[in-house]
């Protein structure tokens, strides 16, 4: 079984936010108005964490794209009372929207706070309603959602490979954020397959994962910034 994972090179990341936009479009993430947004109800399956270091004028801003880390030992799936979130055979932590009762336990249990709740009915600007991605289900209000590693693309890639009568190749399955990155700072592939770029990059001396001490074993690696 492949173990899908991501590597993000922070050296290359400019913090442009293209991945965030691509993710919103790809996953049909509802758009909330400014009022709701001010309350903290924006849904960001892909987010960019920005930190500032130093005092003015010596300020350094750092950016860190943050998808779901699809942990090997996810704290969120353990606590779900109804199997609405689970880790599938290929290591992707998935949500089952029609199963979710909206208790938000997974959301509070996630140490990375990557899960978001649909506080209101999903809404889009009128023009967007005509152009929703048909491959991704629209979530009703009252359920939890998060980054899916664009698992629908895996489905498509597998079917395409089956039609062509070949195995899945590197690059057949890539999430929208990785695909959209203008500086090619993100890599995606099978972490267990030595031929894939990600499995080589994860061995780099620059590679690290967030909060490794928690033992969650995230499948998203970062390559630290070097001056």
């Amino acid at each position: 079984m492949p173990k899908w994972g991501m590597v993000i090179d922070l050296n290359k990341c400019t913090g442009c936010g293209e991945c965030v936009t691509a993710c919103k479009v790809e996953l049909n993430v509802p758009v909330v108005g400014p009022e709701e947004s001010a309350k903290g109800r924006t849904i960001l399956c892909m987010d960019i964490l920005s930190t500032y270091e130093g005092e003015f004028p010596e300020v350094k801003m750092r950016h860190m794209p943050r998808p779901c880390f699809h942990c090997e030992h996810p704290p969120c799936t353990k606590v779900c009372p109804v199997r609405a979130t689970y880790k599938n055979d290929e290591g992707i932590v998935a949500q089952i929207y029609p199963q979710c009762i909206g208790c938000r336990y997974c959301q509070v249990a996630c140490p990375y706070t990557v899960k978001h709740f649909n506080w209101t009915k999903p809404e889009w600007p009128e023009e967007r309603c005509e152009a929703l991605n048909p491959d991704v289900s629209v979530r009703p209000e009252g359920v939890v959602e998060k980054c899916t590693f664009c698992v629908h693309r895996l489905q498509k890639a597998k079917e395409q490979a089956a039609v062509d009568g070949r195995d899945l190749r590197e690059g057949d399955y890539v999430p929208a954020c990785v695909e959209s990155c203008p500086t090619k700072a993100m890599y995606f592939g099978d972490l267990d397959n030595p031929k894939h770029k990600v499995s080589q990059l994860k061995k780099s001396h620059r590679a690290f994962r967030l909060m490794e001490d928690l033992g969650t074993e995230p499948k998203v690696y970062y390559l630290s910034e070097v001056e």
């Binding site: 309350k39 109800r41 924006t42 704290p75 109804v82 009762i101 506080w119 009703p140 939890v144």
Partner: protein, 455 residues
């Protein structure tokens, strides 16, 4: 026997509130129903509009509903647990208290147990818990253990009520069929007394571990996650102590209220309040000890994530609530209850109200700050509950008061047969028991031996 008929019944005071209803009762019911209807309206509105009508957001996605869930279940520990412990330890002063305590448990448990449903984004999918539930999730542990506690505490409330219901049945109090139905054919024969006593004895031993499991399991909701401020081994006992603490305070408030409303000064004497408030004082010290141990370990370890939550409570946005909690839970009750001059009913009432408020704040301080300080640098706002949450909180309290009033309208709030048993048998029994504690008098044989050696 026959002259007894003409005597007025000795415990008439306990039955009068059932047979006579004043205008105040109806007024109170109307007000409470108003609050409940409004809460019902806001809940239905929430079901249709989604949880967006609350003040919850990212990252504080658990708020009033979960706080009140923990709070109400905590109050529920007043009853059955305390009454079981007092029965088990043969504390004779328990007699007028146990029933009141048990009623609190049964009602508050039902209210508290339903609170997670208010919190659900999709209450229409509740059935998934039954068809697809995962017993690995602490939420399911809660469902199981609260159900068990609710069942056990209602049975434990009901069984000691049977003889009293039989009294009402024999007096012909209306509705007759209800008392006839609930009395289960009680005639007060020796055999029946033995059966009932045995059942109560088994139950009170059983109910203590169940009660403790309930609040331990509720603390597990938090402590099973790896979030700073929650992931603590002390949480189980800490919650249990807090629960008993707030439970005793609630029990004292209820007792003082009924003493006033039903004029029960004859039964609920100052001594009962003083004994119970001594327990409250002990729990206050115990609560302080646990709180101290919990926060000192966090502070001393100085783990950055833990420290952010710690500082948020001690000096940050939640400092006002945190220090109010300390004053309400420790300073006020201790100052009032250590001084014999203030350890009178008004003082005890103030201390109890302060503890209930303080314990509610404690639940707030456990739930929100850990969520408001995520490990990663997200923008966070301040959680401000909306009108919906306030009205559902008020609704929960109103349901409690209303249910308690209706109970007091149908059944004696103080166990009549236990009072009578106390009057008739306890004085003798306690004297006997006391004798058994004392060193045995020298036996005949020993005496003769001693005398013999002298000779």
């Amino acid at each position: 026997m026959s002259e007894l008929r003409h005597n007025t019944f000795e415990d008439e005071d306990l039955i009068r509130p059932i047979e006579q209803t004043g205008p105040g009762f109806y007024l109170m019911v109307a007000i409470l129903l108003g609050v409940i209807v409004f809460a019902g309206y806001t809940y239905i509105r929430q079901v249709f509009l989604g949880l967006g009508v609350t003040g919850l957001a990212q990252p504080v996605s658990w708020g009033f509903y979960i706080i009140n869930f923990v709070f109400f279940i905590g109050i529920s520990h007043a009853g059955t647990l305390i009454s079981a412990i007092l029965r088990l330890s043969k504390a004779e002063w328990r007699r007028p208290i146990t029933r009141m305590a048990e009623v609190i448990t049964a009602i508050v448990l039902a209210i508290g147990g339903l609170h997670p449903i208010l919190d659900l984004g999709r209450p229409d999918r509740m059935l998934h818990l039954f068809t697809e539930g995962r017993l690995q999730s602490p939420l399911l542990w809660d469902v199981t253990s609260i159900t068990a506690y609710f069942a056990a505490s209602t049975v434990y409330l009901y069984l000691p009520m049977i003889p009293d219901i039989a009294i009402l049945r024999d007096r012909g109090t209306r509705p007759r069929w209800l008392y006839e139905f609930l009395a289960w054919g009680w005639r007060g024969t020796e055999h029946q007394k033995k059966v009932l006593e045995r059942a109560i004895n088994i139950l009170m031993v059983m109910v203590i571990p169940i009660a403790i499991s309930v609040h331990t399991v509720i603390s597990f909701i938090f402590s099973m996650t790896i979030q700073p401020g929650w992931h603590s081994t002390i949480f189980g006992p800490y919650f249990v102590v807090g629960a008993i603490f707030s439970g005793i305070a609630a029990l004292l408030i209820v007792m003082i209220a009924f003493r006033k409303a039903f004029d029960l000064g004859k039964y609920l004497k100052l001594i009962h309040f003083q004994y119970l408030s001594t327990l409250l004082l002990i729990m206050s010290f115990l609560w302080f000890y646990f709180t101290f141990a919990e926060y000192l370990t966090g502070f001393y370890g100085h783990e950055p994530n833990e420290m952010r939550v710690f500082l948020y409570k001690f000096t940050g946005d939640y400092a006002p609530w945190f220090w109010t909690m300390g004053i309400c839970n420790f300073l006020i009750p201790v100052v009032i209850l250590v001084n014999p001059k203030t350890k009178k009913i008004p003082g005890i009432l103030i201390a109890s109200i302060s503890v209930v408020i303080g314990m509610w704040l404690e639940r707030l301080i456990i739930v929100v700050p850990s969520l408001a300080n995520p490990r990663l640098p997200y923008p966070t706002g301040i959680y401000i509950p909306s009108l919906t949450e306030w009205s559902l909180f008020a609704g929960g309290v109103a349901v409690f008061i209303l249910a308690y009033m209706l109970f007091a309208k149908l059944f004696p709030i103080i166990s009549i047969w236990e009072i009578q048993e106390g009057r008739e048998e306890s004085v003798h029994a306690v004297a006997e028991r006391l004798k058994s504690y004392l060193p045995d008098p020298p036996s005949e044989q020993l005496l003769t031996e001693k005398l013999g050696s002298k000779r």
